[in-house]
């Protein structure tokens, strides 16, 4: 058997947690030794339950390994063990590092990495902030890691890719199976842009619910800091933030409205001592040592650049606002409003409102959200 097959074997054992696997490896140095141990020897280790031992001695192990191996070949999945030199140091130092990592893409990870996490359901505010911060961090040379989930995760990856950065996605299932399936396009984009997709689970592992909290420890583990953009009172992002604290990482959070259910968790983090992030420098100044990597190459204000890029209006007919339109903008300026509310407050007809709001949208001043709700653009 090849060495890699022993590593595949040890990651494919059901019920053998990362801590036990790590301890076994510390003692016996190589999975090959563990592979050939008899049941008496295994009992003597005093680490394993009967169930563990049964699993380790499972006679089908050869078939399982070859199955995983062929799937790896098919999907171009590679594996790296904790003894490898390129295994991220950050991750090696946590309490329960995965003994091996499966990956697709280019494994060069010892860079300055920030995790951006948040809830799957977002408001337009959350989406905007995640995109902006991810874009700016990436433009300054930071790597962004997230979980390839819907919502903030996705936006964080996209923001990084938009800035031409490299991003890392950590999955809670086997790499042969992209979950959620709507992010397959994003998955390809990450791989094609020299990014990296990681998972501690062997191919064939379905996206089980319990995998995701465990996946979060890797997200925080490989990063230097974790930024929580939007998280409800009870959210997986808070689990990531919890791991980050345990692992000694910095925790950052973007504040939200105090009455917003989408920001309850993020606000609570700030209250508990996480650093409030209003702009990208709030994150970067915490890592003076990272400056070498980051190198503030871009002198001009990226944030302004970003806005310019996103509201190009080279059509002369769309320039300038009428007095009526300015009135509408003032009404919309404090939050989001349904069209009926705007009609009510501005005392104009539904017809006029439809017209003004459309023109403002075309001019890039406001944007329309599902449900005929309007808000001011950045």
């Amino acid at each position: 058997m090849k060495e890699i097959e022993y590593w595949i074997w040890i990651t494919s054992l059901e019920g053998l947690g990362a801590v036990k696997a790590r301890t076994l490896l510390k003692i016996y140095k190589h999975p090959e030794i563990i592979y050939h141990m008899s049941s008496q020897e295994l009992v003597k280790t005093r680490l394993l339950t009967d169930k563990n031992i049964q699993e380790l001695l499972n006679c089908n192990k050869r078939e399982r390994i070859s199955e995983i191996y062929s799937s790896m070949v098919k999907h171009n999945i590679k594996i790296i063990s904790i003894f490898d030199e390129i295994y991220p140091d950050n991750l090696r130092q946590i309490y329960d590092p995965p003994v091996a990592l499966y990956y697709i893409g280019k494994f060069e990870i010892n860079a300055f990495i920030i995790a951006i996490v948040g809830s799957r359901k977002t408001t337009s505010y959350g989406a905007r902030s995640a995109k902006k911060l991810s874009y700016e961090l990436a433009a300054r040379g930071t790597r962004i890691v997230s979980g390839l989930a819907r919502g903030i995760d996705r936006i964080a990856h996209e923001g990084c890719l938009d800035a031409g950065g490299k991003t890392i996605a950590v999955l809670g299932c086997g790499l042969d199976n992209i979950y959620p399936p709507d992010n397959i396009g994003l998955f390809d984009r990450i791989v094609n842009s020299d990014g990296l997709i990681l998972s501690e689970y062997p191919p064939g592992m379905p996206p089980l619910q319990r995998n995701f909290p465990a996946r979060n420890r890797i997200i925080s583990g490989i990063s230097s800091g974790v930024l929580v953009v939007e998280a409800a009172g009870r959210s997986g992002s808070l689990i990531t933030a919890g791991y980050a604290l345990e692992q000694g990482r910095e925790v950052f959070a973007v504040p939200g409205n105090i009455d917003s259910a989408y920001s309850g968790g993020a606000n609570q983090l700030i209250k508990d001592g996480a650093k409030m992030v209003l702009e990208v420098n709030d994150i970067l100044e915490e890592f003076p040592w990272g400056e070498k990597i980051i190198a503030d190459i871009l002198k001009e204000d990226l944030s302004n650049n970003f806005i310019k890029q996103n509201s190009k209006s080279n059509f002369s007919i769309f320039r300038g606002l009428s007095t009526e339109e300015i009135r509408m903008v003032k009404i919309i300026s404090n939050g989001v409003h349904h069209i009926d509310e705007i009609i009510e407050k501005s005392n104009i007809s539904a017809k006029e409102a439809n017209n003004f709001l459309f023109m403002l949208e075309m001019k890039g001043v406001i944007s329309q959200l599902p449900g005929k709700i309007f808000e001011l653009c950045l």
Binding site: R120, K121, E344, A350, K351, N355, Q368
Partner: protein, 509 residues
């Protein structure tokens, strides 16, 4: 001794002359009816025999053969009773038959010789008129319906006896007339009124636009936001029906036997709101004797489908073709029938399973996947046929309480009528009555944009990522909005508003 009497058969909502031929000859006494009649036609032998006897005439004890020509056309129902009876009486010389072929006879007989009402009178009278028949006997109960057709003498009768007396010149029946113009104007409406609806300015505006141009409309909103309330009030602002429209609608109701007693013409646009358990057949039409479905019964009116995603897939999808073509062809083993189906479709739907997806609060517990699945039930081909999307927002208590007076239906209706008149004028003689019926070539002709406006439309498409199919819908709706202002050309603000009604093209979950 052969006599020929005119009667009428129905195919769809059109009548077809049926000649009732009667031969009385010597031989073993018998009474046969041939000519592809159904059970009701065969049973008419017994009714006719008794009715003749009880009207004081003698039923000939000879060999009687009745042929309903053309013999290859299926004949249904009891409408031939009167003509068969008159045929027998004429063949035996009991009625003066000098001018019998200028008459048509319709009606069912009861055993005592009374003439009973039948369904489908209006299309039959209309057919008689088109075929140059001058006088028509109709059951008295159907007289109001028949009198809608001018230029033909409507002779309402109560008994077989009175027909015989009229034909023999003993007691003349006075032709029945009604004043149609007054019918079209007197238009008693339902008790609901738009002034009951507080707020919802944008939804009301969308409904007004939909009513003006007969555009299909989709309302999306959380439970309790007032979708059904708004839809129920839509009939109160629909424009008046033209006489031609009224005739066509009445024909449909007449053949389906849904015309109310003593009603002559349906002058209020129909409003049909079937429950979502409806089958595809009852929505499209069908059955052994093919009857119009809800989509035809809503012809020139409104077909309201509440809780649209709950409708069966088959039921919703049968609407696609009639919504496009304005008619529906129903084919069964023994016949096929075309019914008109130019209904305005109004749908109401929740945005997600729990219904709160579009609300700003976090009440909605649906995952993005569930939302997509729910909205996915609105099939794309069907959505493509809906011109106006509007989102309805729940009102808070303060908004409900603070509101004073709202515009009444009558005021809105007046504007709608004006806008519809503009369209009727423009499309005179083209067989269409509203902007929603515009074909691609007519859109090109009537929905031209100036340079500025088309630049705006182009930019909107780029910026909002609208789909190509939205293009024609936007132009049609913009045309209606322009008509509401009596504007000759389509201006930028008309286009702007029309684009606002394409919100479902942008919702991306």
């Amino acid at each position: 001794m052969v006599s020929k009497i005119n009667s009428c058969a129905l195919t769809g909502i059109n009548g077809r002359i049926v000649e009732v031929e009667t031969d009385i000859s010597n031989g073993i006494p018998a009474f046969d009816i041939v000519g592809l009649g159904d059970t009701a036609v065969r049973e008419s032998r017994e009714r006719v025999r008794a009715a003749i006897k009880n009207s004081g005439e003698e039923f000939p004890v000879r060999r009687i053969t009745i042929n309903l020509a053309p013999a290859n056309l299926r004949k249904e129902g009891s409408v031939y009773d009167v003509s068969i009876a008159i045929g027998i009486l004429s063949a035996k010389g009991a009625v003066n038959d000098n001018e019998l072929n200028s008459y048509m006879f319709l009606g069912e007989l009861s055993l005592d010789g009374e003439v009973k009402p039948v369904t489908g009178i209006l299309p039959m009278v209309s057919c008689a008129y088109e075929n140059g028949i001058k006088n028509i006997f109709v059951p008295e109960a159907n007289a109001d319906e028949a009198a809608v057709i001018k230029g033909i003498n409507i002779l309402p009768v109560k008994t077989l006896m009175s027909i015989i007396e009229h034909l023999n010149g003993k007691k003349t029946i006075v032709p029945y007339m009604i004043d149609i113009d007054s019918l079209l104007i007197s238009n008693a409406r339902a008790s609901a009124d738009f002034s009951d609806v507080k707020g919802q300015a944008s939804a009301k505006r969308a409904m007004e636009v939909a009513a003006c141009g007969a555009h299909n409309l989709l309302m999306i909103g959380s439970p309790g936001s007032g979708k059904t309330m708004l839809a129920k009030r839509l009939p109160t602002i629909l424009p008046n029906m033209t006489f031609e429209e009224a005739i066509e609608v009445t024909k449909i109701y007449s053949v389906s036997g849904l015309l109310p007693q003593k009603a002559s013409l349906i002058t209020a646009r129909p409003f049909r709101s079937p429950h979502h358990t409806i089958s595809d057949v009852s929505l499209a039409g069908g059955g052994k004797h093919i009857k119009p479905g809800e989509v035809s019964l809503a012809h020139y009116g409104v077909l309201f489908l509440d809780e649209f995603p709950e409708f069966g897939k088959a039921a919703a999808e049968v609407l696609r073709q009639p919504l496009e073509d304005g008619e529906i062809c129903i084919s069964r083993a023994n016949s096929s029938v075309v019914y008109p189906a130019k209904a305005t479709l109004i749908c109401a739907a929740n945005p997600c399973k729990c219904g709160f997806y579009l609300e700003p609060s976090d009440k909605c517990k649906c995952t993005p996947r569930m939302v997509r699945q729910y909205l996915g039930k609105l099939s794309q081909p069907l959505l493509d046929r809906i011109d106006i999307h509007t989102e309805i927002h729940s009102l808070g208590y303060d908004e409900l309480a603070a509101r004073e007076s709202e515009e009444s239906s009558a005021d809105i209706r007046e504007r709608v009528n004006k806008a519809r008149r503009v369209q009727l004028e423009r499309y005179r003689g083209m067989g269409i009555y509203s902007n929603s019926e515009l074909s691609a070539s007519l859109i090109k002709k009537y929905c031209e944009l100036d340079r500025y406006t088309s630049a705006l439309l182009k930019r909107a498409f780029e910026k909002l990522g609208l789909s190509a199919r939205a293009h024609d819908r936007i132009l049609k709706v913009a045309r209606t909005i322009a008509d509401m202002e009596k504007s000759e050309g389509i201006k930028s603000d008309h286009i702007a508003e029309a684009i606002q009604y394409r919100s479902l093209d942008r919702i991306r979950v």
